[in-house]
Amino acid sequence: MIEALRKKAEELLKNKTVSVVFGYGEGSTPERTRPVFITKPEEVNKLTWNKYCVYNLTTYLKRQETRKLGKPAIVVKGCDARTLIVLMKESQIKREDVYILGVSCDGVGDPLAEKCKACDVHTPRIYDDLIGEKGENKELPFDERYAELDEYENLSEKEKWEFWQKQFEKCIKCYACSNICPLCFCDRCIVEKNQPQWIDPSAHARGNLSWNVTRAYHLAGRCINCEECQRVCPVDIPLNLLNKKLAKEAEKNFNYRPGYNIDDELAMSTYNEKDNQDFVR
């Protein structure tokens, strides 16, 4: 698979289909990988593929530094490819401006990442080239995909509050979560808006609650649960639980999975006259 990947990358760079390949390279230890940006055909041997390729490389599509490198080919797993669909729907990239090197994936991380436990996109649902075997993506049942939440949803109101307060208290407002997130692409994050300052930027409980709730809400109907926010959080806040909860509500109420079907309308930009309103008086 690695050979096929390198060969394809070399070909794309040689024939100038792309000017850069975003991929995974070997890290400082065997259990690590790091992102690599290959611009020369002779450097394709830096590319690798293994179960440690956890990251979602699509985040580099929003960065000025990597954007400057020209049209990219990007190595994506099935989950990462969903980000691309969202980015296209949200006018952040054009389909023709990115070459998608899909890799089929049996799960990453050691131990297996949470996101892989109920994965039903082993083969990317969008790609220009598929590296590896094309598997059958059988959609997993709703409950199975959101099983991780059960434990937290079943807490009492008080327990929930205390759990999350304990988590949010830790937040140091380093914004690693939003920096890594491929879908947090605003030029100016709402927390940076100081006229007025809706969210207190200093790291204390009040602003932390507002920040974390708002960050999650801004990903409602968008987040594809790559778990990158949670992975990079230096104080280990289980941020993806919030994202996943929103994904669950969006799917339950709007029958929508972000980045799953490219023809679906973005959930938070549309409506259905029959949307749930059981909670409205």
């Binding site: 100016r188 809706w198 409506y271 909670f279």
Partner: protein, 165 residues
């Protein structure tokens, strides 16, 4: 300020100008009495209400929030309330997931003709929050903020800050 014995809930209501705000006016014209624990903020449409507004109201010490707009199909702007309902459908569960009691954040459809429904609704929101008691959780985190308690009136500054990044 509230204390255990004489707790009076503090409710902020975000109302659509075309329906519920007018419905509350109608209740007034009809001299229909209701509890005084609510402060109304008028906006053109529920579709224009950013969930940030609701978070801010909690930060400011609200014990409960009501958001109310036009019945489905009756939006002055055709679809504002439908979009609003979408947001509520994800935002309310998110707050509940974080441990905020669902009665503290309520939603209703009240038309300009429904002065009676306004009175019933706001009274029942106030009563529900009275049962829950003060939103101590939020007040506690407010209290440890760097600027001291989030409650109490903090006037906005007159100066124009810079917009640079």
């Amino acid at each position: 300020m509230s204390n255990e014995t004489t707790f009076e809930p503090r409710i902020v209501a975000f109302l659509c100008n075309w329906c519920t705000y007018a419905g509350a006016d109608l209740a007034g014209t009809g001299r229909k009495q209701y509890q005084a624990n609510v402060r109304i903020i008028k906006l053109p449409c529920t579709g224009g209400i950013d969930p940030l507004f609701l978070i801010k109201a909690f930060e400011r010490g609200a014990d409960g929030i009501l958001v109310s707009g036009c019945h489905p199909g009756d939006c002055h702007y055709n679809s504002g309330n439908y979009h609003a309902r979408r947001r509520w459908n994800v935002f309310k569960p998110l707050l509940e997931f974080c441990g905020i009691n669902p009665d503290r954040i309520q939603f209703s459809w009240i038309s300009a003709a429904e002065g009676g429904k306004w009175v019933e609704t706001i009274n029942s929101v106030i009563d529900a929050v009275r049962v829950l008691g003060p939103f101590e959780g939020y007040q506690k985190i407010n209290a440890i903020g760097p600027e001291g308690p989030g409650e109490g009136f903090a006037p906005s500054s007159d100066t124009t800050g810079c917009e640079c990044k």
